[in-house]
């Protein structure tokens, strides 16, 4: 019965979604889509004419083989253009979707109806994806020309499209996620484009590290060579397109869950988001192990380094949302204790510490299972748990000052960023040391990294844990004094 209900709900969400039908009617009536497609076709036509002209010139000067080379490059140019179009158009469209509804004040009408936010978001996603499909279809004749002149095979075209479509889903999901939090369309568009750029910055070293990188399908500018790329996982040859499809679908689902959670702030959505976070952390941990293991033999070290720093960039935006509370907000945001395993995933204040600590454990579980003989892994886990406790206590402290949960979160962002972004000081430090001694110091030599267990040793670990716990203790002591005063004032009033 439950399965049948689930299937009914899924078919209602994905087939004949009222939101997507409504949006599609509007899209067909407006001129925006027509101008978009005409513009895109004009660019394609311009590239074709230019390339044909260059090829004809090379036939005359260098012969047929050189001209064929020129036309083969045309296929790669089309795919790059398609990737660029998707990078710009899809997040922009996603970003305006929810903000427009909010500005039109129609969100209240939709959310007072018996539909889950996921239904609304999937509807928006489907309606925006129609543009992506149209762009892909419009590129088909050009791609066919590439196949005819020998620049690519149909398999290349198919795999590129198979990678680009999930990328379109992913970039639209970024737009929808940002749009669910942004107040204006401009802010949403800028935020979405920045996020897509950061993603490209992250995957570029991964996808360009070598010609047949397994992550080549993650970068819309390198999908042209995704057809031949694959990787061997425990004896099974996994094609690059499959990796990209799985990654994009998983990331999109996660972003949509984030958007659902921020639109409703309700318990079921928060539970789903937190459980998905665990899965995402497992995937991130395994990716880290995978890229880490390839560091010595290839140019993956940059990618590994970027991936390693990723949580530090994200923490200031995530931890305040998880931890910060207020005495005068809705029930879910009011303090209900320090530590409750039962509230770990439901968004209650008492569940924030166990949730954060469990995230750290999950993150370390992959490397510890795969490399059980590396003793420093356990020291790293201990330091990471203590650091997370410090960040939690910092945000607990931040909640003492906020007028409400939103104010507390703003304070929390500042405190978390101050702690998490301290490693950035490595950059000026390395310049300073390099100018003095002529050699760039390793990250392990940076003083702050000792605090984080850099060049992990039992001695450093003990120092780190003591220092981090000491600072956390100060946060908790001062915070509780302020909060006790505030509660007393409230009681007196």
């Amino acid at each position: 019965m439950a399965v049948r209900d689930w299937l009914t709900e899924q078919s209602r969400t994905f087939i004949g979604n009222a939101q997507s039908v409504r949006d599609f009617r509007s899209q067909l009536r407006g001129y925006r889509s027509m101008f978009l497609w005409l513009g895109y076709l004009s660019v394609l036509l311009a590239i074709t004419v230019t390339s044909y002209d260059t090829a004809a010139e090379r036939v005359r000067s260098e012969g047929l083989a050189a001209a064929q080379m020129e036309l083969q490059n045309l296929y790669a140019a089309f795919m790059t253009l398609l990737g660029l179009a998707l990078c710009l158009i899809m997040p922009t469209m996603g970003a305006t979707s929810i903000v427009q509804e909010r500005q039109r004040k129609s969100l209240d009408l939709i959310f007072s109806a018996p539909v889950k936010p996921g239904y609304f978001l999937i509807g928006k996603l489907i309606s925006n994806l129609r543009y992506a499909v149209m762009l892909l279809v419009l590129t088909l004749p050009m791609a066919a020309a590439g196949v005819m002149v020998g620049g690519a095979t149909w398999i290349d075209v198919l795999t590129a499209f198979v990678c680009l479509l999930p990328f379109a889903v992913f970039s639209t999901s970024i737009g929808l996620f940002i749009s669910s939090r942004a107040k204006t369309a401009t802010a949403a568009i800028i935020g979405s484009l920045i996020c897509v750029s950061l993603f490209l910055l992250l995957v570029s070293p991964l996808s360009m590290a070598m010609m047949d990188s397994p992550f080549v399908g993650l970068n819309p500018f390198t999908v042209a060579s995704a057809g031949s790329a694959s990787t061997n996982l425990s004896g099974i040859e996994v094609p690059a397109w499959l990796i990209s499809v799985v990654c994009f679908v998983a990331l999109s689902k996660y972003l949509l869950l984030g958007a659902e959670s921020s639109l409703t702030q309700q318990k079921p959505e928060i539970v789903k988001l937190r459980i998905a976070t665990y899965f995402l952390l497992v995937a991130y941990s395994l990716t880290l192990v995978f890229t880490g293991s390839m560091r010595g033999s290839s140019a993956f070290s940059d990618a590994f380094f970027l991936l390693l720093l990723l949580p530090f960039w994200i923490l200031p935006f995530v931890i305040p949302i998880v931890v910060c509370y207020s005495f005068s907000d809705s029930k879910r945001l009011r303090p209900d204790g320090w530590f409750s395993l039962r509230s770990m995933v439901d968004g209650r204040v008492s569940g924030s510490l166990p949730f954060l600590l469990s995230c750290v454990v999950i993150l370390f579980a992959g490397p510890l299972v795969l490399f059980p003989n590396r003793g420093d892994g356990y020291q790293g886990l201990l330091i990471a748990l203590t650091l997370m406790f410090l960040l939690w206590s910092g945000n607990w402290f931040a909640s003492s000052f906020g007028k409400d949960a939103a104010g507390a979160r703003l304070n929390g962002v500042g405190i978390t960023a101050a702690i998490a972004y301290l490693p950035i000081a490595y950059i000026p430090y390395s310049f300073m040391v390099a100018s003095r001694s002529g050699t760039t110091p390793s990250l392990e030599e940076f003083p702050y990294s000792i605090l984080l267990g850099g060049g992990v040793s039992p001695q450093n670990t003990i120092i780190s844990v003591i220092v981090l716990l000491g600072v956390a203790g100060i946060f908790l002591f001062v915070g509780s004094v302020i909060q006790r005063k505030s509660v007393l004032q409230r009681t007196t009033l």
């Binding site: 009222a18 009408l109 109806a113 018996p114 879910r332 007028k403």
Partner: protein, 309 residues
Amino acid sequence: MLTLNNLRKTYGNFVAVKGISFQLEPGDIFGFIGSNGAGKTTTIKMLSTLLEPTSGSATLDGYDLEKQPMEVRKRIGYMPDFFGLYDDVKVWEYLDFFATIYGVPSSQRKEVIDNALSLTDLTLKKDSFVQSLSRGMQQRLCLAKCLVHNPSLLLLDEPASGLDPRARSDLKELLLELSRMGKMIIVSSHILPELSDFCNKVGIIEKGELLLFGSVQEIVKGIQSHRQIRAKFIDSADLALSFVAVQPLVAQVKTLNEHELTFDFTGNDEDQAQLLAACVQAGLRPLAFSEESLDLQDVFLSVTTGAVN
């Protein structure tokens, strides 16, 4: 049946709604009266499940607002103080969209839309674009949207604001018709005369606190400790004043003009009839002799201080 039990909403230190409690039965039209910022919209938003109450509870037909929001949403039709209409769709497409998201089966959708259009007198505008409708028609379309799923409770936030007198009259007729169909209706407004015409229950809210709740008559009775009589005589009002002022149960006699006077009377209907007979016997020749009842506006002005949140 709708039951609110100490429903409260705070934003930080700001208390928007201070523990409201009341109950509505099917067919009730409840006028929710208060100044701007009194807490009407916040209460309605809590009832429409868009806002989570800080404390307290509410149930609609036995379903808890917080615990079973999906069941509650199936049973409410919410019309906000803004219409939130999509301009670039046709009238029937707009209703089709909401009928779909409210889960009306596709086989019944056309009939349901036609009924809603007919009830709101928009049948002729079925194929018009929403942006081409007048404000009154857009407001009726929004109401039609609330009806497509046959809800038991209608939440109408300032439905009459910006409407011309004819559109207001049409709205009143429509609400009475819906009440006869057994729907509970909550209408928030700060335009009082229109509410007293069709609401069988009213509540006055100020600074988030429900000051009064009940039928218009009950509320007026509760406020008015004595009757106020207005009398008109063919002869001089001064002559009548000297006679009336010395009668038992009469106080605060004032002349209004050359022939009219008003006074407070603490007696019942029988005493009032005897007083009229005494005036006739004294040769005063009364033209009119009636009790002046307070209207909703008088009640509102007497119980509220004008303070806002």
